[in-house]
């Protein structure tokens, strides 16, 4: 631990720290453009210059200089001030200074640092260079004249995303950032370069010229597009969510967000259910809440009522429905819409036990039935990190393009029962072997054999058994008992008189012909098309709610905007329905609902990883089972009703997933 002095203040810094990090530890702000905590060091912007003794009598780039014992660092000397002013002046020589028409304005590093460290005027009178726009796909808008060549975007795609497609062509003054032949950026995390770009060179195409950062209300929320539970911030203006941005949470999403989580938000205002509808003579017709509730009461469900939770619902909604059903005397709850029926009595066996941060340290990883890039893009980032640290990765399931070296072991689950000797040896020797079972694996019956394998490879102080779900609501649902032995088939067999579909859009409704199907949800998607009665509900952006990610991490999202039209927060609908059905559910406000939920499932009351208890013993004889794996996600961009309603996601699907040529609208 070297000791250094920063502006006269002596501090100890961790081994391997850079001078820049030392300055930060001492509470000094160091301006920077190219340096980024999560990317490799480039040292090419020169904005981070400081004075360091011993060393040459000139300012040094602190981001690329290791802190060593006895260094005297000055961040406040005249030399540093002049150096920063000089660098800034050079950076601005070729920068267009078009802030008034730039979307980065108000949240631009260059703007902020020019104000804080610049000299207030330029002495440059020559012509500025200009660079032509580069097409980078439907999400990223480029104004390359603004680029300051920090190469953050290049390093992100190479190092984090693992899809090497952005590069710096030409040299010197002619240097230009582009993708090969201006092809669209082709991966699930592409839009993160927009956040990384310290200037307005890469900005958000769908959000172009929509709003200024200071007009936006910022709400802390949780991404529901997959089961990762990325921490996001919803920026809204009036009743509209303008954009979603990642928040930093090292345990979950670090500071990235998948393109879907980021860009499906325009779907929040399209194809919305904002009126009550009742199906009369086969046609859906507008109705009032009262008529709808009466119609449901007329069905006299009694005990014969079921609730099916969709992929995006929060725990409170599921709990309210569970209370309602309980009051009616039914326990027919199910959330695994597509019919999976893995055992759900032990929650530890259903969670991503290694945790996302932990999986980075695994040294042998067996993925069973998961197209991780599509099902949990942010977990794939972690797997890539593990692989870069030397982990060996094996996959059981159909081939997909991994972003790290991986060996495919076949598509059939039976291979788990007799792994090739070399593969088994890797795991036997590994210090932290991990198994990841995806939704495709669960559906093909890989749960038992995978659990047996993980138990064979158990290590002290390391839990290597992981289930990677695809739905944001899944873990919460399982904690709230939304799982029947036998799954959806069992619910159908019970022939409930009334089925409450809580945003359930992936169900095969043909099995429920005789039931009165009440859809409580927000989008006119598959569930609403099949419904007999539609009660308009709220999306994740329009209600407070608790979500549990696939690790078993309990997280809380806040309401950003109001639901449109007659739509209501889901719990209020269920509360009113209880009145209509003449039963008591025991809560009249959201706070009461929440405390009732926490009283019954205490884990939901504490933000953070829930303690799910020990893993169960794997059943004997599960090993030999076989089944061919197929992946549940056919199209990464269209996995949920919000995304399917989103014009941006539709376009991504057409252009990136299906490779259609999209003609640029004349701008």
């Amino acid at each position: 631990m070297p000791k250094v002095t920063v502006d006269g203040q002596e501090i100890e810094v961790p081994d391997g720290a850079t001078v820049l990090q030392a300055c930060e530890l001492a509470g000094k702000e160091i301006p920077r453009f190219c340096y980024h905590e999560r990317l490799s060091i480039a040292g090419n912007c020169r904005m981070c210059l400081v004075e360091v003794k011993p060393g040459p009598p000139k300012p040094q780039a602190s981001c690329a200089l290791p802190a060593t014992e006895g260094q005297e660092i000055r961040t406040d000397s005249q030399m540093v001030k002049t150096a920063r002013e000089g660098v800034m002046e050079f950076l601005l020589i070729n920068h267009p200074l078009d802030c008034p028409i730039c979307d980065q304005g108000g949240e631009c590093d260059l703007q902020d640092q020019a104000v804080a460290y610049g000299r207030g005027g330029s002495r440059y009178h020559e012509n500025k260079r200009a660079v032509t726009e580069k097409y980078m796909g439907p999400l990223i808008k480029t104004i390359m004249t603004r680029c300051i060549h920090c190469t953050r975007c290049v390093r992100f795609s190479e190092e984090v995303a693992g899809v090497d497609e952005i590069g710096a062509l030409y040299r010197g003054e002619d240097m230009q950032i582009t993708t090969y032949l201006e092809q669209a950026a082709q991966h699930e995390l592409s839009a993160n370069v927009i956040d990384l770009c310290p200037v307005g060179a890469l900005t958000s195409r769908p959000y172009a010229f929509e709003a200024r950062p200071w007009e936006l209300k910022k709400t802390l929320s949780i991404d529901v597009s997959d089961a990762v539970g990325a921490n996001i911030r919803l920026d809204s203006r009036g009743r509209e969510v303008m954009r979603a941005l990642p928040r930093i949470n090292d345990d979950v999403n670090e500071e990235w967000l998948s393109d879907k989580g980021r860009y499906m938000v325009d779907g929040l205002t399209r194809r919305r259910l904002d009126k009550v509808w009742i199906r009369k003579r086969g046609k859906l017709q507008q109705a009032t809440w009262e008529e709808a509730f009466k119609a449901i009461a007329r069905a006299k469900p009694g005990k014969s009522i079921a609730a099916i939770a969709g992929d995006l619902v929060d725990c409170e909604t599921m709990f309210a429905a569970r209370k309602l059903l309980g009051a009616m005397g039914s326990g027919l709850l199910e959330g695994r819409q597509t019919g999976m029926d893995y055992p759900a009595d032990n929650l530890a066996a259903m969670a991503f036990n290694s945790t996302f941060a932990g999986i980075e340290t695994a040294d042998a990883i067996l993925i069973v039935g998961s197209q991780v890039r599509h099902e949990a893009a942010l977990v794939n980032v972690r797997l890539r990190k593990a692989a870069r640290r030397g982990a060996k990765v094996f996959v059981v399931g159909p081939q997909w393009e991994t972003t790290y070296p991986a060996e495919f072991l076949g598509e059939d689950v039976s291979v788990l029962g007799n792994l090739p000797a070399e593969v088994a040896e890797v795991f036997d020797k590994a210090e932290r072997p991990a198994v990841i079972v995806g939704a495709g694996g669960l559906a093909a019956g890989a749960f038992e054999p995978a659990l047996a394998l993980a138990q064979g490879w158990s290590r002290e102080g390391w839990n290597g058994f992981n289930v990677l779900h695809t739905a944001a609501a899944r873990m919460g649902g399982l904690m709230l008992g939304y799982a029947q032995k036998g799954g959806m088939a069992e619910v159908a067999k019970a022939e409930p008189k009334v089925v409450l579909a809580l945003g359930a859009d992936e169900v095969d409704w043909s099995a429920f012909d005789k039931s009165l199907k009440v859809y409580i949800g927000h989008h006119g998607d598959k569930g609403a098309h099949a419904a007999d009665i539609i009660l308009p509900g709220a999306t994740y952006a329009e209600k407070d709610g608790t979500y549990v990610n696939t690790e078993g991490r309990v997280q809380f999202a806040e309401k950003a905007v109001f639901a449109p039209g007659d739509a209501r927060e889901d719990w209020t609908i269920l509360r009113a329905l209880a009145d209509a059905l003449g039963v008591e559910v025991g809560f009249d406000s959201f706070a009461e609902l929440q405390s009732a939920m926490i009283a019954e499932v205490p884990a939901l009351g504490v933000e953070g990883l829930a303690d799910l208890g020990p893993l169960p013993k794997a059943a004997k004889g599960g090993k030999g089972k076989g089944g061919t794996i197929s992946y549940p996600v056919a199209d990464f961009y269209l996995t949920n009703p919000i995304a399917r309603a989103s014009a941006v996601m539709q376009r991504c699907s057409a252009e990136l997933a299906r490779g259609e040529e999209i003609l640029e609208a004349a701008e």
Partner: protein
Amino acid sequence: MADRTPAPDTPELRERWGSFEFTADYKAKADKAIARYPEGRQRSAVMPLLDLAQRQVGEETDTQGWLPLPVIEYVARYLDMPVIRVLEVATFYFMYNLKPVGKYHVQVCGTTPCMLRGSDGLFETCKKRGMKKGAVSEDGLWTLTEVECMGNCATAPMVQINDDNYEDLTPERLDTILDALARGEQPKTGTQEPGRHTSEPLGGPTTLKEMVEANHDYRGEW
């Protein structure tokens, strides 16, 4: 500066170069270049491979050679690396031609020492023969490029043509060289100054004179 953008990606370009592959000869050379680096570091050989590819294209087209996009993609595949990384290298170094060039790529140095010693005259000479900067002459023989210092300032002005340097030039001397090349002959390379061998001082040494005959220890004289 010359236009350094790659030749446009047209169907004709794909048609002509899409099936490019190293000949056995070039393949052997390429593999030798790769073998210089540790296993798994084959990417390090990207520069020699681009050069080899350019030379093979040159042989096939009877020019100095250049790098069509499909050839760049071939090199990327050969080295199992992302094509954007290869294109970065190809666009960075001036010695890789991104557009077709003539049989002789005449690169005239225009940097200060050469300019003071008369490079303007060399450009004139070239232009008189129908060469234009950045374009292939009508007969397909010449491409003229102005370049920065080639490190031959002591024998300035100089011109680099394909793999050879011609130094101590005057317009007449350059004309003689170009005539010879046009006839398919190989002129003498290096300095064109009669009596000069390489870049030794003209008219005999002016410093370290004692060194001419034998090694001399100057240290006692400091």
